[in-house]
Symmetry: C2
Subunit: 420 residues, 2 copies
């Protein structure tokens, strides 16, 4: 069985590699036609998709999945339409492949520039939400990459149904169907086998819980675009506009709780804490947010729970907020350096030099002035869609869209130049 699995995944890898070569030189119009065909097919065959999804939901209920997981798993007309719209949006984005930039003459007479090209084969390992099947395939297709999709076993019927429509769309457009392959087995050992295919796969994108990501990083010999913690901060400076500070702090924490770009710790300058914290506390309490503060915070907000050292390092993903009063910008930057996860951090200030320092000195994938951390997102940044948010520094940092799925090679144009 394990040998069969290994052989099967090796075949998937080789098929992907062969498809990638063809897809890598496919014309933009043909890739777009495939995307639009798939979008229409998904909408036209919504009833069949919903029926297949029903099997997953039934199995999920039998297995005792909780309501939140069942909700993520479910497909309905609205979600299928959203999936189709996502494909159309990717079709509308400019094709990154083949773009040549910076082509300049050198003293030797050669012209040197860079051409953007696909990475090759991208493997995506994900959990529950079946729309990832369409989103990830669309981004890979547009960026000229073949993809290997490994969805969760709980969504296997839905993922198969979606993948079949994607492959039909590829075929109709004259593109290789193996440009998008869904791993057909729910055998858990398949992930381990994928991680060993370093001659067939150029990059792995795990999307899911921390356990999955840590396993992939530990086992993989293939480069990983990964997303770890989002322990995000908002620092309210004493030279802030109070209205903006309150609006941003509330939005960053309460617009959605279970997301990586939600604020987890609020830092506030001591000079404005007495004026702003009571008001903020009232507003957070109205939203049902539990507050945990440093001693100075607790002195200003009578019913605030005392924060422990562990609170500064926790990504709650829940209606809980840690609050710390800091002396100044230096202490805020130091706190973020020590406790942050390098995801997204924001300052609220009207002071030009402090804004500039915060942007330069805070080493996170997104740094913001007077905006909610919730904006750290591929759509909001104009990338069109995202395959994930990277907390790595190399290659791709922050929201990863089409560009993060490509690389650049050097192109040299000459007239017979040789090196002396």
């Amino acid at each position: 069985m394990t040998e069969d699995l290994s052989r099967y995944l090796r075949a998937v890898g080789h098929n992907a590699r062969a498809a990638a070569r063809i897809l890598g030189r496919a014309e933009t119009a043909i890739k777009n036609r495939a995307l639009l065909t798939i979008a229409s097919t998904l909408e036209a065959e919504a009833a069949a998709l919903i029926a297949e999804n029903g099997k997953d939901l039934e199995a999920g209920r039998a297995q005792g999945l909780d309501d939140a997981m069942l909700d993520r798993l479910g497909l309905d007309q609205r979600r299928i339409r959203a999936m189709a719209e996502g494909l159309r949006e990717v079709a509308a984005l400019p094709d990154p492949v083949g773009e040549i930039s910076g082509l300049r003459y050198r003293p030797s007479g050669i012209q040197v520039g860079r051409m953007r090209v696909p990475l090759g084969v991208v493997a995506i390992i994900y959990e529950s939400r079946p729309n990832v099947t369409a989103d990830a395939a669309a981004l890979c297709l547009k960026s000229g990459n073949a993809c290997i999709l490994r969805g969760g076993s709980e969504a296997i019927h839905s993922n198969r149904a979606i993948a079949a429509r994607i492959r039909a769309g590829l075929e109709a457009a004259g593109l290789p169907v193996d440009a998008v392959q869904l791993v057909a087995t729910t055998d858990r050992a398949a992930v381990g086998e994928l991680l060993r295919l370093d001659d067939c796969i150029d990059v792995i994108v795990p999307r899911g819980g921390k356990g999955l990501i840590e396993r992939v990083v530990a086992e993989s010999r293939i480069p990983v675009i990964k997303h770890l913690d989002g322990n995000c901060h908002v620092y309210i400076d004493d030279r802030c506009d109070a209205d903006k500070a309150i609006r941003i702090a509330l939005n960053a924490k309460t617009q959605r709780y279970g997301v990586c770009n939600a604020m987890e710790t609020l830092l506030i300058a001591e000079a404005v804490a007495p004026r702003l914290l009571p008001e903020l506390a009232r507003r957070f309490r109205d939203k049902g947010v539990e507050l945990r503060g440093c001693p100075r915070t607790c002195a200003l907000i009578p019913d605030c729970l005392p924060a422990t050292e562990a609170d500064w390092d926790t990504e709650y993903l829940a209606p809980i907020l840690a609050i710390r009063v800091v002396a100044d910008l230096d202490m805020a930057i130091e706190h973020i350096h020590r406790h942050g996860s390098g995801h997204t951090d924001a300052i609220v200030t009207e002071d030009y030099s402090r804004a500039r320092r915060f942007l330069r000195e805070v080493d996170s994938s997104s740094v913001m002035v007077n905006a909610s951390t919730r904006f750290a997102d591929g759509y909001e940044y104009g990338l069109g869609a995202e395959i994930g948010i990277s907390t790595d520094k190399l290659h791709a940092r922050g929201p990863v869209g089409l560009e993060g799925l490509t690389t650049q090679k050097f192109v040299v144009l000459g007239d017979g130049q040789i090196r002396e």
Copy 2:
């Protein structure tokens, strides 16, 4: 002893991390001043450096190092001047750190762009040539990265002498001396310890033989910018200019033999092979190059040795050239795809569409039209200097200069915007 070593390298890592934070926000003028001071000091103290280098040479001779290695190891006035000039050139390059690009308004009202920032801490593991100590330190310093240098034991006195001048220059400029640290021990276990410091080091650059690089890739949990084989091709198309074809083929092979961007296999279209190969063979023989050809090549060049399948995959780094007659561009691209190493490949043609296809379809870090593969080099490309040539696809591909030692974070400027 191993525990001591482990503790020592952990301290080196922590010192580098602390120095990186300060260096990352250092002003351009101060970094440049340090570089220029170091350049002057190296020149002024050339006699002392040559004396220290003498100890390495003596030990090397006693250990029986061959002449080529002793030559690479040696320092004289000319080489020290070249090292100082290298530092001045890096000082003259634009500072990449802090550059903001693509700052655009989004429909939400926020402005989103990207700021170029240092990676943090770079470890470079290298062999024999002591000038790498100065080159690598200069590139890291300018790009705002702290570096940990692990040179070969055969150059330890020279490297220590150079590193001491670099640290003095940092101190004189008011920068942290630990921004450049040379690993003080020649214990071979030190490399293994470095590779485990994934919380202190952001990227490892191994520069040396294949054995070193493969070991680093296998053991490291830290991202590696690596350079593997340079099995480079020149394809002479039947629509080429014959003079350019001969000039480029000769230069690509014979300008220097032991370099990664030298041609190792010549591909030639069958329609021009009878006309060009005899002339090329004569010219190569004059330079003392051994030729190994496919059967059709051997038929055209009487004294050509027959090539085996292994020849197509070999990076000779020597005056040996494999030659293959191919039917057309398709077969040339297929040969490069199967046997190439993705380093540098060139086409010689006057045909517009074939040039365009070669550039797009050959998946190498440098693709060239009518230019010698020997141009694949940081200086020739205008990067100013290079820390290496990457044969990876992710992050940096091809010659890696200051830009490859940096990453980009998103910056968001707002006026109190929140996400609806």
